[in-house]
């Protein structure tokens, strides 16, 4: 066994010795051959060997040839890039960028500058780091160098490079909102410069259209980075607000989201920002820190109303999930404001407070489509109806109160998947406890306004509901 190990060691040394014995010129030929054969792993390995050999105290003469060394680093860089395309490891991409930079330092080939600039931007896109602009600068340096090298003419090859550059610029600007910390002026300017340069060439109709479209977007829209940036800042501030709910964070979040709304270019973005503003104001009211609950709730209602108006007018532009959320926050903001005024009635002008609550609540009851009963399906309707029926009871509006409590009752049955016909037969404890407040308010209203037939069918129902609900209470108590 020992002899075998010794033999292996000898073979290993012999191999190492063999490699070391190889002159740089031979290794260089091998590199070119292996790169041509697309053996990128071996190419990188051989390049490393040359670099190590050239770092020795007495290196081969080829190490002093710029042409050799720039190619060693160039092939190493491209081989590493090809390896990156397979393994998608940022470490490999970093190595490729470094190798190409080294090659550029040795010779200053603009083609190389374009390539490592491209890779740097690619890295930024992969890492979702929209603030990293060096890649664009380096790639542009390469493009300008190639333009000068071609005696200030723009070849088709350069046009393709410019298109790549523009695509990357745009991709870099639409990295996720949280990383959009630049304001887009630089990128937009670079795209305009790129379009100007490309249009010096004779362009086909497709290319011409490409550059026209991107220039237009860059000039008018600046890739919506203003909006993206404020949105990113808004969401970040919203996180701070959730963690530390204070007036400063609230004001900051609101300001950023309002700016994001102002700079929003799409209907979807506008609706999204209005929805977020509603949520933020509702959150603030719930936390009760700034002691302006009415102002916050009114603000939330106003923003939700605007979002809903966008949904009604231009619903085709809004995705279903966002539409559902808008309806939800609109319903919540109305309900919370109704509740606020309702609770306010104890300490101030009662009738005035009830009237306000009624007026606010009715906003949600007005249908906005032909033949519709209500604005939209919202899972909080039964509570809103119940609250409004209580208001009707308090202000003595019989028709309103009865209508609301009837709607509330039906909505509550529907929410619990129950049928009034054989209610007691299918009632479980949980549903009973849910239905009990509705039934009680119904009875109150029926008693106050003398609705004898209602009381007639309601009494047995209340009895069975109360019994089932009591079961749940006793279970929980036990």
């Amino acid at each position: 066994m020992k002899k075998f190990c010794l033999l292996l060691l000898i073979i290993g040394f012999a191999n190492v010795g063999g490699v070391l014995a190889q002159p740089v010129s031979t290794l260089y030929d091998e590199i070119q051959q292996s790169y041509r054969n697309q053996d990128y792993g071996r190419t990188v390995d051989l390049c490393r060997q040359i670099i190590v050999r050239c770092a020795e105290s007495v290196p081969d003469v080829e190490c002093r040839f710029t042409d050799v060394m720039k190619n060693v680093y160039r092939l190493k860089g491209f081989a590493e890039y090809n390896l990156y395309l397979k393994d998608r490891s940022i470490v490999t991409l970093d190595a490729a960028i470094l190798s190409l930079k080294k090659s550029y330092e040795l010779f200053g080939d603009p083609e190389i500058a374009f390539n490592f600039g491209y890779m740097e931007s690619l890295r930024a896109i992969e890492m979702q780091d929209g603030a990293y602009l060096d890649g664009l600068v380096h790639a542009w340096q390469g493009i300008l160098g190639l333009y000068a090298k071609d005696e200030w003419t723009v070849s088709q090859e350069l046009v393709e490079k410019i298109k790549t550059f523009i695509n990357q610029s745009v991709e870099l600007t639409i990295t996720p909102a949280d990383s959009a910390v630049t304001n887009g002026i630089f990128t937009s300017f670079m795209v305009r410069l790129a379009c100007d340069l490309a249009e010096k060439a004779y362009l086909g109709s497709q290319d011409s259209l490409f550059f026209r479209v991107y220039r237009k977007r860059a000039v008018e829209d600046e890739f919506n980075l203003r909006g993206n940036e404020w949105r990113a800042r808004g969401f970040s501030a919203q996180k701070d607000l959730n963690n530390y709910p204070d007036d400063y964070n609230y004001r900051t979040t609101r300001r950023y989201l309002e700016l994001a709304y102002k700079h929003a270019k799409s209907t979807e973005r506008q609706a999204e920002m209005l929805k977020e503003l509603t949520k933020v104001a509702l959150f603030m009211e719930k936390e009760g820190i700034n002691n302006q609950p009415e102002a916050d709730l009114q603000y939330a209602r106003e923003k939700a109303q605007q979002a809903y108006k966008i949904l009604v007018d231009r619903g085709a532009d809004i995705p279903l999930s966002l539409a559902t959320e808008i309806k939800k926050v609109y319903g919540n903001s109305i309900f919370r404001l109704v509740n606020y005024y309702f609770s306010f009635a104890d300490s101030t002008n009662r009738l005035n407070a009830y009237a306000r609550a009624k007026r606010v609540g009715e906003e949600l009851l007005v249908p906005d489509g032909f033949g519709r009963r209500q604005k939209f399906q919202w899972d909080g309707y039964e509570d809103l109806y119940l609250r409004l029926s209580e208001i009707g009871y308090e202000i003595g509006e019989k028709e309103f109160a009865v209508d609301m409590v009837d709607k509330a009752w039906k909505a509550a049955l529907e929410a619990n998947a129950l049928n009034q016909g054989n209610l007691c037969a299918h009632l479980d404890s949980h549903s009973a406890s849910e239905l009990l407040p509705f039934a009680r308010v119904y009875r109150q209203i029926a008693e106050r306004f003398g609705l004898q037939p209602v009381l007639h069918w309601l009494r047995p129902i209340i009895k069975c509901i109360a019994e089932n609900a009591r079961n749940l209470t006793s279970k929980e108590g036990a």
Partner: protein
């Protein structure tokens, strides 16, 4: 006799065509210098737009603008060197283009002088080079002559370099370049 005449004619024609070719190359290079200067001013204008848009914002974009203007000014200086190598001398128009570009780069460097202490030294270097290049026999000095392109800083329009330097209180900072060698400027650390 006829042969000598023909050979002489050919030499004259060849010499002329070479001369025409050289002139065409020079024209093309000068054209590029003018185009690059236009781009330099464009970048400077865009930078000012960026700075006035949100004064609190600096960082990566400002650095990117600085790098971009550096690339362009280096190209202009390369062309200027090419002219020098070709003819052993340069025209006043070429000197002025190079000087103006250097001046814009110096002003760009100043925008980040607070952040990067070497920027002030770089700005001074460009400023001195620009003044050296613009030493000519014209009655009107370069700084006072009309700029070929408009420069906008915020909402103000500038048509002369002197106004631009004065209005932004940068002229005095630039004068400091001559006063100090290793002294301390108001920007950053000691230089």
């Amino acid at each position: 006799m006829k042969v000598f005449f023909l050979v002489g004619l050919l030499i004259i024609i060849w010499g002329n065509s070479a001369n025409v070719r050289a002139q065409a190359i020079e024209m093309k290079l000068e054209e590029q210098m003018v185009a690059l200067e236009r781009d330099v001013v464009r970048i400077y204008n865009e930078l000012q737009k960026f700075l006035s848009d949100d004064p609190a914002r600096r960082g990566n974009e400002l650095l990117a603008f600085e790098s971009l203007i550096t690339i362009y000014v280096d190209e202009v200086l390369n062309l200027y060197d090419t002219f020098w190598r070709m003819k052993g001398t340069t025209l006043e128009s070429q000197q002025n283009i190079a000087a103006r570009c250097l001046m814009f780069r110096a002003l760009t460097y100043l925008e980040r002088a607070n952040k990067n202490s070497t920027n002030y030294a770089k700005a001074c270097e460009d400023y001195k080079k620009a003044l050296y290049l613009s030493q000519n026999k014209l009655e009107e000095p370069l700084l006072s002559s009309k700029l070929p392109h408009e420069v906008w800083v915020g909402k103000k329009l500038y048509t002369r370099l002197a106004d631009l330097l004065d209005s932004r209180s940068k002229n005095f900072q630039m004068i400091e370049c001559f006063r100090m060698t290793n002294g301390v400027s108001q920007f950053g650390d000691g230089k």
